[in-house]
């Protein structure tokens, strides 16, 4: 049960830095096993289905271009979406930040006199921490996606954006369901667990008159909204209630209806390794006789507009939340999602979270990567995540340099000294000689340094350091190479 009850903090303003948050996970063998298993399954399916698309690279190029064009003209497309959606009977609201979005949703729910609401999985609502806010206001939010129910009933936190409960295994799910649903003899067969969730939710779907969803795509041309899902809980929420509220980030826009022909081919393949998800729904405003009578869209900024300013960082907003980057990431594989201290984990979280926080929080995340580039390779919208990580690292470093600690922090002092030494050859040679003498004591017979004292221990705690060679290249060159060249000067001339 520890996987769920440890209670990770996913509010970037309160979460501990990544290296600290990662430690308990690294010690949790069960959780790492659960994460690795889930990822292996998705990765295998995804690899097979992406390989079958011979035009995958062309699709990526088109998808990236569609998103770039959208972002470069975002105000126009947002206004077009607003106009078309309103004409079709929807009501569009704009929220500058999380607090405003929460307030808008609450006001609508109050108007509906709602004391409960059913929800389709939406990362945006997790981002603005909507559920606890509604709870405080006396409104019960019922998650309806299987993974989200597991987390809600088990009071856990999401650790992945597509399969949020991938860190919980079947026996843990059984325990949660048996307790929360009061079922005594529940087996841990996923089939039985799924059936239990179906029964638990059926009545809610048929009786709760208000629903909240996220959006995968907003179509500017028609004012339509698209949601991609597997279980049918989405269709229930989109079809049965009287009032429907969709919460969507401003970057979810695609300009034209036909742009979905690219996006829908990529999303499911990239996310879950399916050709298409079982259900993709698109609706436009309100349709008399079919579905909700009232429809609201809340367009959320919450830090997104500031990401547009820099062209490199702007790529972040191309993201279609497929999670391929976290599934392929060697760091995520070891730490799972909770260590990222945000509802957006993995490589995309490492660039998105600090930017949404305008670098006031989550500064450790851009460093939570080996820059291996696997995330960039799989990204269906070609976000160059390593490039953005490096950019953000520079920004974080600049920020730290401006703080008072810069004269006492050993790393900054060290780098300043290094800067000086590297700028003059004689100092560099001198430092090399000194380091060689200094490190000789610590170098074992096998040529490796296994432990260093004080600051150096930070390095040797987790890895060994190669001892310095007896002579540098320069020294060797002076002694042998250079001499030989001089002797064979004639050959050298001929060779030219």
């Amino acid at each position: 049960m520890s996987a769920v009850s440890d209670h990770p903090i996913l509010d970037p303003a309160l979460a501990p830095p990544f290296p600290v948050a990662a430690l308990p996970v690294l010690r949790n063998v069960q959780l790492r096993k659960n994460v690795a298993h889930a990822i292996d399954v998705i990765q295998a399916k995804r690899a097979r289905l992406v390989a079958e698309k011979t035009d995958w690279q062309e699709l990526r190029t088109a998808a990236a271009a569609i998103k770039d064009e959208t972002l470069a003209n975002l105000p126009a497309y947002l206004e077009q979406f607003e106009e078309r959606c309103t004409t079709a009977g929807g009501q569009v609201h704009w929220a500058a930040d999380a607090a405003e979005a929460r307030r808008i949703v609450l006001e609508i729910l109050r108007e509906e006199k709602a004391d409960e609401v059913i929800k389709i999985k939406t990362m945006t609502s997790a981002e603005i921490q909507l559920n606890p806010f509604l709870e405080d206001a006396g409104i019960r939010a019922h998650e309806t996606d299987l993974a989200e129910i597991i987390l809600q009933l088990g009071q856990g936190e999401p650790s992945h954006i597509v399969v949020p409960a991938l860190h919980v295994n079947r026996s843990q799910v059984r325990e949660i369901f048996a307790r929360a649903m009061g079922i005594k003899d529940l087996s841990d067969d996923p089939k039985a667990l799924t059936a239990a969730a179906r029964n638990y939710l059926r009545k809610k779907f048929l009786t709760v008159p208000t629903a909240i969803s996220g959006a995968n795509f907003l179509v500017a041309e028609t004012g339509g909204v698209a949601v991609v899902e597997s279980e049918g809980n989405g269709r229930m929420c989109l079809t049965l209630p009287r009032t429907m509220i969709t919460l969507a980030g401003i970057e979810k826009i695609v300009p034209r209806f036909a742009d979905l022909e690219v996006m829908l081919q990529m999303l499911a393949r990239s996310a879950t390794g399916e050709r298409m998800s079982p259900y993709t729904s698109l609706w436009t405003g309100v349709t008399p006789g079919d579905g909700p009578e009232r429809f609201h869209v809340v367009l959320l900024d919450n830090g997104r507009s500031s990401i547009l300013a820099n062209k490199t960082e702007r790529q972040t907003l191309r993201c279609i939340r497929c999670a391929a980057c976290m599934n392929t990431c060697p760091v995520y594989r070891q730490t799972g999602g909770h260590a990222y201290g945000s509802v957006y984990p993995g490589p995309i979280g490492a660039i998105l979270t600090p930017q949404l926080q305008e670098l006031k929080h989550a500064q450790s995340l851009p460093f939570a990567s080996s820059l291996c580039g696997a995330c960039y390779e799989v990204c269906p919208v070609k976000i160059n995540i390593p490039e953005i990580l490096i950019d953000l690292r520079a920004k974080v470093t600049d920020q730290e340099r401006r703080t008072a600690g810069k004269f006492t922090d050993p790393m900054y002092l060290g780098l300043r000294v290094a800067n000086l030494i590297f700028s003059r050859a004689w100092m560099f040679h001198c430092a090399q000689r000194m380091a060689r003498i200094g490190l000789r004591v610590f170098t074992r017979r096998d040529g490796w340094i296994h432990a260093l004292p004080s600051v150096g221990a930070k390095w040797t705690q987790t890895r060994d350091l190669r001892g310095l060679p007896k002579q540098t290249f320069h020294e060797w060159w002076e002694k042998t190479g250079n001499k030989r060249t001089r002797e064979s000067g004639i050959e050298e001339v001929e060779a030219r």
Binding site: D290, S305, S306
Partner: protein, 247 residues
């Protein structure tokens, strides 16, 4: 903040961010001029053309297309049978009988000859949700089938029915005509545009004729949320049956 003030402030912030970066891009373009034409293009503000070099048109014959469609549907655990146009009514009756179910919902525009006798039919005009919930199954037509992904597309017209009727019943029988099957997803989108455009119209009128409601169905409802084990049937219909009419 009042509603319209928030709207203005969000739009203003987006515009400010985009304007700021135009200046940066102008500088980039300047330096790129000294480098390569390719880099200059990369620095251009708006990409006017979206490079659409992906497969738009399929290359299969009708028979191949249908075979692929059936194969992909079966991979999703959908049950598929094929029939000739004059055998459709019989095929529907056989499917209904084999399902062991009694009460079926039919959309108002479903052809009368599809309503096999010996079963209880609820014709949807404005059925109450609790009545739809009571039904054992539903029979609908569709707008299109996409072979490559084994997808059935509903536009919720008169013969496809309101969204709720193909959602609540546990068993969905969908009739697809071979002529409705396209090979690629872009070909489906082409069909949407074509069904809309009659004569010369401006973009806004075209947009008006694009479908307002679409449900793409790729197999019965499913989940893999517990240990990535695929379980068929969560909230949507647990059974998807398809009759492909070779017309």
């Amino acid at each position: 903040m009042s509603a319209s003030a928030s709207r203005e402030s969000v739009l203003k912030r987006i515009r400010a961010s985009l304007a700021g970066s135009s200046a940066a891009r102008a500088r980039f373009a300047e330096s790129a001029r000294r480098n390569s034409a390719a880099e200059l293009r990369a620095g251009t503000e708006v990409l006017l053309e979206i490079p659409r070099d992906y497969a738009r048109k399929g290359e299969m014959t009708l028979a191949e297309r249908c075979a692929r469609f059936v194969e992909r549907l079966r991979e999703y655990d959908a049950e598929v049978v094929e029939c000739a146009p004059d055998g459709l009514a019989a095929a529907i009756a056989a499917q209904l009988k084999a399902s062991g179910r009694r009460t079926f919902v039919a959309p108002s525009g479903l052809p009368a000859e599809w309503l096999a006798s010996g079963f209880e039919w609820m014709i949807d005009g404005n059925l109450e949700v609790r009545d739809v919930e009571r039904a054992d199954g539903v029979v609908t037509a569709c707008f299109c089938g996409v072979a490559e992904s084994g997808t059935i597309v509903l536009h919720h017209g008169p013969a496809e029915g309101r969204r709720v009727i193909s959602l609540l019943p546990d068993w969905h029988l969908c009739v697809v005509r071979a002529g409705q099957v396209v090979e690629t997803l872009p070909e489906y989108f082409d069909r949407c545009q074509m069904s809309g455009i009659r004569g010369q119209k401006n973009r806004e009128q075209q947009a008006d004729e694009l479908p307002r409601l679409v449900t793409w169905i790729a197999g019965p409802s499913a989940t893999a949320d517990i240990e990535m084990t695929r379980i068929k049937g969560v909230h949507g219909p647990r059974f998807l049956n398809v009759i492909l009419v070779q017309d």
